[in-house]
Amino acid sequence: MADPAQIFRRIAIAGNPNTGKSTIFNLLTGMRQKVGNYPGVTVEKKTGRFFGSHGEAMELLDLPGSYSLQVRSPDEAVSRDVLLGRVPGTPRPDAIIAVLDASNLDRHLYLVAQFLELDIPVIVALNMVDVAEKRGLTIDLLALKNSLGVPVIPMVASRGQGLIELKQALSRATLHVSECKAQLPIVLEREVAALSRTLKCHAGSVRPEAMLLLSLEDERLAAEVNGNPTLLAEVHAARERLRLSGLDPIAAPVDARYAWVSEVCASVVHRRGEDAHGLTFSDHVDQILTHKLWGWVAFVAMMALMFVCIFIVAQAPMDWIRDGMGALAKWAGAHMPEGDLRSLVVDGVIGGVGNVVVFLPQILILFFFLGLLEDSGYMARAAFIMDRMMSRVGLHGKSFVPLLSSFACAIPGIMATRTIENRNDRFVTILVAPLMSCSARLPVYAIMIALLMPASGVWSQAGVMLCMYLLGILAAFVMAGLLKKTLLRSETPMLLLELPPYRAPVVRGIVQRMWERAVVFIRRAGTVILALSIILWALLHYPKPATPEPTQSEILSHSIGGRMGHAIEPVIAPLGYDWKIGIGLVASFAAREVFVSTMGQIYNIEDAKEDNEDLRTQMRDERRADGTPVFTPLVCLSIMVFYVLAMQCISTVAIVRRETNSWRWPLFQIAYMTVLAWVGAFVVYQGGKLLGFQ
């Protein structure tokens, strides 16, 4: 990789959401990508390197999709701050690639109008020219280039067309700042100039800063100039003068830019034929997918298909991994001398990590589906359909996407809340997101369902699984409604949601993101889970009882882990759990999936004979002192309910701490979810017993 000092040009790639920005980013940088974070916020900073047409090293920064520099969400704030050179450690880019959807220049040129005000060279990547062509739009490229004053590269990024031309444009020795701009009303221009003189910041970004401040709504302005009363007073005075001269400071720049956009479009975009009101492909699809009846059918069918695939398609690769781990453990067992070290490697490391890695196929399938739904444009329709329901509990259709992603993992779900504009709504979504059954619960559900109904078919097992998911959803809704009425009271937020045209998803992009997730998951298995497995192994084996030749259950009972399990037994006995399950609960406080590996370790210790019996059989045969089975159906259900509702994930705690910027919220979240879990499990177990179940 090139020396950072030798980077010829730093380029930012920006545009509205759903323009194919990431596809172009991937095309340019291939696998040479780096994902990090911006200081203070958790918005992903994606950078990549590539070489220009003459071999110049370039750095490309993928900015989050945004509609405007007048930001409304943390994601958009990052784009704005980078372009204004406000972010420490991220130099102001030397050029911007503005990615536009050629079939909707009317709207997408608005952001370009703002970029042109930034005094940074802009290169327009006019993406999806094929779609525009199909819709009967002819775009006069030369006229567009002349009206914008910047290079315009027509592209079909999904097929790699236009890449060479884009690279050539980026490699030019000098890039010019365009002279073309939207003409602002003179009074406004005068105020912007006056305010610019008082602002102290990067020389090139003074004017856009002033422009942004003048046209900010009062609610946001206060936050923006926080701690600078003189500036605030000056902005207010300037606005008052504007209002007196009959200008609305918020509407005026928007009107001016759109007037300019309309003028450009009128000379550049030509429609063929009379089909201006004709229905597009997306319109036809939406007639079904947002239909009063078929819309629901399609929605339910898609969700059902996703979960069925997770359970059926993932089965074979999961078996391979399980067999592989089993063979590895056997091999290690056969080649190591009897003793604690062998036990550590076989039970602790291979068993602990293996029981978690097994779930990789399910996680990948889930991410594949989520990627497909997102990239095809369906996710926005799901938000559209679900908004009415979400707004009942005071949430937003936009909260649907983070909550759906939380089925894979709460961490990307919580990160996806950054598109939610209102702080309180964002926090409510963050607080309830871990109630959505994430993939780490799958191992727990899977083993409990296998114990609960060993003889049943895949469909009825999937049915129980579905109930657990539904319970999580119900709990999330109830809690969201409660939180919105109490701690995080606010109006039901405004919905302003774009329904982008449907597109064939670029499978390569989805697979790349799946790969990234897989790496994160495996790294986690190799670090956090590995460490926890070793610690757990030690907790379950030490200290050793003083008696000579102790039996395996004496070792377990005497160990620290065993004592912890005994210590919490009074609290969990009303839920139907014995002290061994208690060990599992304690151990999985850091990560839910550890429950399964803990159970594996516990029963491996107990099971003196080294046979290949799998964990399920061992658990089924487990008996209490009085000879009754430990894992009765009711206990299995109670455990599942506990895991649906409990917050047991250190990584989520960390991300909530980062996203809410305080310890208050993650601690509150742990507290309320633990209480909820205990009460839920208590009701299931005791209620079930009252009704005469076992």
Binding site: Y67, E217, D387, G397, P500
Partner: protein
Amino acid sequence: MSADAENAEPRSEAEPLSGLQPGQRGKVLAVDVPGSMRGRVMEMGFTIGTVIEVVRFAPMGDPMELKVRGAHISLRKAEAAGIRVQRV
């Protein structure tokens, strides 16, 4: 329809965007969206003089889907009520 009848039922009167039916179109006269989202509503294309088409209502009757400057944007009825339009 006679000229008188047209005058008796003036078409130029401002009405809330939420009152339009799917397929109907209106020209924006005023954007009175409360709170901090007013600027963003305009930036999404709801500027004065723009013609907006109601595409459909969501399966549960709310929100509504609107076609603005070639893009499809969804707004709740309560919010769309703040956008006053003149039917065209």
